[in-house]
Symmetry: C4
Subunit: 261 residues, 4 copies
């Protein structure tokens, strides 16, 4: 059935002139590819992704293209697994390899948010409970200040009805998700996971990790009683400071993740 859906979708895209096989924006900078590979492995090392989840980066040569691995476990990604996509999430040349069903998360966010340069989708465990409860995820410490005080939740039932498989498996659902994300840094997906966006690979990895940490710490703090969260002003100030610090953990994480086996 999935094959049929993909076929139907492909046919549909082929039907529209703009969605014909996209052309390449050319080879991305080697550093971008290296960082994308590293990000995949770092996210696995940090427990943000397991066999599932994906990270992408906007193409450095063309804002209308993005780069993401073929469909595979993030911990195993190498440079040759990186595929180029247009913003409709059509692969330039996947060389016959399977691509992620949910690549539309990435393409539609890049369309809606020109400021976004990198996107992580994960099922990071501590965040899941916040997506299925009425409790709002809020920053308990400066490390997660990028969350701000208003993390939205995407309820796919609102747009896909009561019997979906919960996946953002087409452009329409991707656009719906991007709308709920709005101008924020993180959007939770009910019964599924979350998406984190950033202006660089190191920053989006930082954010995906500390969103997970915040969820864990907020749960613990709530059990102790009333919690003092960061104010909107504190969150904004701390997020600005942290943006100047993302390379410190990134160097550490990258070094660990890229160690020869």
């Amino acid at each position: 059935m999935r094959a049929l859906t993909l076929l139907a979708m492909g046919a549909c895209l082929i039907g529209l002139p703009a969605a014909a096989q996209p052309t390449s924006a050319g080879a991305p900078d080697a550093q971008v590819v290296e960082d994308l590979v590293a990000a995949s492995r770092v996210l696995a090392d940090l427990g943000v992704v397991d066999g599932f989840g994906h990270v992408s980066v906007r193409h450095d040569k063309d804002p209308n293209r993005y780069l993401m691995s073929r469909s595979m476990a993030p911990a195993l990604v190498k440079a040759e697994d990186i595929v180029e996509f247009d913003l409709d999430s059509v692969a330039v040349d996947a060389k016959g390899r399977a691509v992620f069903l949910e690549r539309f998360i990435h393409g539609e966010i890049y369309k809606a948010r020109p400021d976004v340069k990198a996107v992580v989708h994960s099922h990071s465990p501590s965040v899941i409970p916040f997506g299925v409860s009425k409790v709002r995820l809020q920053p308990v410490y400066h490390m997660s200040s990028f969350l701000g005080v208003d993390v939205p939740v995407f309820e796919i039932r609102d747009v896909a009805g009561p019997a979906s498989d919960l996946l953002v498996r087409n452009a329409g659902l991707g656009a719906d998700l991007a709308k709920v994300l709005s101008d924020k840094t993180v959007v939770l997906m009910r019964g599924h996971g979350s998406v984190t966006v950033g202006t660089s690979i190191p920053q989006v990895v930082f954010r995906a990790y500390y969103a997970e940490m915040n969820a864990r710490l907020q749960s613990e703090a709530m059990r102790l009683g009333e919690v003092t969260y960061l104010t909107a002003e504190e969150a904004a100030a701390a997020a600005k400071t942290n943006d100047g610090q993302v390379m410190r953990p990134w160097e550490l994480w990258k070094r660990k993740a890229m160690k020869p086996e």
Copy 2:
């Protein structure tokens, strides 16, 4: 006393013509054995099993035989430790080595469920609390959608009385457990652990892992307040999608688990 019980059981089986020393269905496919060995180690790596727990697969040459390691810690299993059993859980030739006391879990489920090709029994930690409480295990996210909305609990006291050692140590108890499992994917065992079934080794490992994850996440979510679980329709749709994705984590897990020491 256990030795006596086994002797009595052996005598009993020998008394019935059908239970005489079973003949072999022949050598299983090498890939099946390789995957069974890998599954043992993967489940240990993932924390689903520790020194205890076991995984089996139905013989690819004969639906009336199954394969499982001799009695040993799953993390140490090698191809030469695999033993062939008939569905009464009598070993074809154990070569004098001890076999699992609870092999009847596997044999009786293979009898009752022709669709089942692989079985995992574990004491995976986050699932235990759900077996001893009144709270029903339910899918909080799409990864555990295979649980459906009706995970049964096997209360051994109902069939073995108030003073059993909790083990499914004979065919009768195995059949009782299989009855409670019914057509589901997972059955919890009060004060003991759980059993997961599947149509392949990669799928049953996937399910055993995400049953554990779901238990952990559901506990966390419940502490935040009211929880939105997957509906039966969402669970069915997501389970179908996931069945097409089980090789992705399997390749990752297998690769890690089978690394040379």
Copy 3:
């Protein structure tokens, strides 16, 4: 000040004829020493002990002697660190090396419980909360059935007053602890840790590990609501069965812990 205390204690012991420098019972069996070394490292690997905690075994040649490492982190213990003690916890010949302040836990239990062949003292983390609360530790699954339904708590304030350092630092306190342990397998120590006893090294390690697991799982289960614990009869039956299974995890744990670095 500790040096002075030790000196005072030594002087005191020397003052009593029975406590003169004890003679050796001779070299213990090599396997006993090997298992004691392995147990130290296994307990560290399993997170039952950290830099603190200790395991001992009764001497195989003389029930009035026991073996334990000098004062050091369990993960680093080697055969040459093992010291022989009499049941007053006086070292036969410590070769000038420091011995554990709390060795009296071991000596006094060996005196009071002729059935006990091995003792573990730890601060294993999940057990600590049960020692400081009114909730009784009870077996939630068959793996921890050895706990029985009546795990005692040693409140050192009852015997050492309100200003002790909580350590069982002399024979009197050791005897008090042994009295509270009575004929059980585990005794919790309020604000400190716990002691587990067994009839062999593999069994006592098994018990120390699953006491920790039970505490973790019981805490989780209690948060879900009413808990069905093992009955006394189930616990007794399951404990008997498990006693025949302790070598299975032991072989696994030992193999991992003794891997060359």
Copy 4:
């Protein structure tokens, strides 16, 4: 903006004669540097610090100088990364390398507390919830007895207003923090982390680790109901005993952390 702030701060310091480029107290003892490097890595190994957090030691040749790494992830620190600072937290010679924004935590505590020889600042996870709730961190077991019964919380809003980035980024805030720390061993920082002080590197690492452990265990214990904490007298006695034991875990931790990669 951070660059501007640093520039302004530098300019300000240069404006005061006493804050001119400080002179070196000479090379510190090699053991001090080795222990400082080890402490950085040990704290990372123990999960007390991640990509962030720092440890310092007072200079062994001059109480008016302290040593700390340049701004970097603690797990990667080597001897050549150690920088000397005066108590105004001006580097003697950073060789153009970035230094920690929050070095004032260290300098101001060394000024206010002549007894303190080593300082750890971390965001250790279990401690964070206690900093944002009304529940007081209290010792549940002897290992964390150094906490005493009165762990203070620094609310930066009280001194930096409602829109700070929560960092102790200047001498004034450092002095404010030192005032709240007073004569205690640990001070929590609301929405940020904590600071631990000690009379030696092994002791401060011990304290930072067991403060984290206590937070985790206290949270668990509180969920079981009423908790019996150490009395002030017990805490004082146990802390004195533990001070004689800090080398035992230190040797273990150092050995693990300094293993060649």
